[in-house]
């Protein structure tokens, strides 16, 4: 099985040679495989309800042990990309195959992002929601839609 490292190297070399033409099917397949074959997933939230929404969906995709992070993630809100830094907080404090985090995209007011990282912290997929000021909606419903969207955009459909 070809490693993610080799796929990335090939894509980088294409970029250097100026022959890169956009995502390739084998690249998307590799992302799907990493998610589907995950044995351990860490969800970077401290909220039991949000955790349950994510866990229930992921269990339809893979057969993994799914755990909630046990460190307060709110400190990631003092960074430039809170959602991403929650994921990195999980990456640095837990061993897992996949890390899922959700939080603010950028500056206060910029809405939210859900992001899925691999075991080295590489971004596999993500999705965005409007600022809650713009689009008020039940938070669990929103997270559910975000995760389904993040998976759909790399070709994983949830029924």
């Amino acid at each position: 099985m070809i490693m993610m490292e080799d796929i990335i190297k090939e894509a980088y070399i294409e970029s250097i040679k100026n022959i890169r033409k956009g995502d390739k099917e084998e690249e998307v397949k590799k992302i799907q495989e990493k998610i589907k074959k995950a044995k351990k997933i860490i969800v970077a939230t401290n909220n039991q309800k949000k955790f349950k929404v994510i866990k229930d969906i992921m269990l339809k995709v893979c057969n993994a042990q799914i755990k909630m992070i046990d460190i307060d993630t709110k400190f990631a809100d003092l960074t430039r990309m809170p959602a991403l830094y929650k994921g990195l907080l999980a990456l640095d404090t837990e061993k897992a195959d996949i890390y899922i985090s959700r939080g603010r995209l950028g500056v206060p007011g910029s809405g939210s992002m859900l992001v899925i990282l691999d075991e080295k912290g590489r971004i596999l997929t993500a999705s965005l929601s409007p600022s809650s000021v713009i689009h008020k909606e039940n938070i669990e419903k929103r997270i559910k839609d975000e995760l389904i969207e993040a998976l759909k955009r790399i070709g994983i459909s949830i029924n």
Copy 2:
């Protein structure tokens, strides 16, 4: 007029005190204002067609001088977040109020991201598209939809 720096500081202090409740209207208004009042915008692309799509939409939102970057941006494809690093490449080589960039979200196969940065490189808004393998569509149409979506999610509507 309250500065972005003060709005961010207030939000950070709320997070530290554990009383933060999500985006606030004045935060979203500030983001809108920064985009609408921009006097100079740099678009981090080397593609004249993509540039024109972005310029035409932005001219409906603000009265800015809009320029294309004159450095090859493909090298950002060798980073972990190509779209974001194209924006930072523009930030570091040009003075402007707003930087707009578009490229791959994360690893090869992860689809695309359009991101709008302010004069310090802070993320104001963004939008995502599926991997082109998943959802084939005319590239100019896609970029147009991405920019309209990025603006819509922070409350700026384009007709």
Copy 3:
């Protein structure tokens, strides 16, 4: 006066063309100038003693208003580069010409870093100290030496 943006652009183009030969005198001069001509400096520490050490040295280099950040910076310790993220915390919450921060370099145990950022968060210079476990020394003495070293390596000498 040539802008930092133009100097960076020229260096990037040299790298793309594969003709870059290392730092140039005008680049170092530009860094010196940015520090010497700073009108406002933010020091990203909450410690009055550490602040005083830094302020006293910087007043020998420039004629700036020098302020301490008024947000708790310890949350930056939950990031991958605490010293750098303290600086970014200051950058995002205060307007200034120069930001000086000091904290852990990387993982716990990795020793400390002092870093000087410009108004866009670009790294102008830095210095490192061994882990305090390895080399015990008075903290104010250490910070003084770090700042003097950070300035010396880009050609600014303090008597």
Copy 4:
């Protein structure tokens, strides 16, 4: 054997509780252990001479397979932290226990940095050199001194 993830988690919790008192001996020992027990090391340079200098020193510290990266690393010079991004380029394209990279610290003119990353891209140690404009010296000699210094500051001495 306690994992790096657990050590980081403990340090983060200390920071949250406001009882963190600086680096601890077990943290430094863990960093040493990761370097000494490395089985595979990637050096992120394309220069055979620089590679040899680094390889010869590392072979005194550990019994690892040491390889040079086979992608052009100069594109990292178009990022905000070229030395660090060379390391991340290696991290994303190769599997290894330790990644060693060397390049510019920050903006052009800011001198050089040597940095050692672990298998997840966490910074274990680093060292800095003045801008070559300030302190001209044989490049191999400089890299040798940088690596010895990076190891020394976390308690690994080379004879």
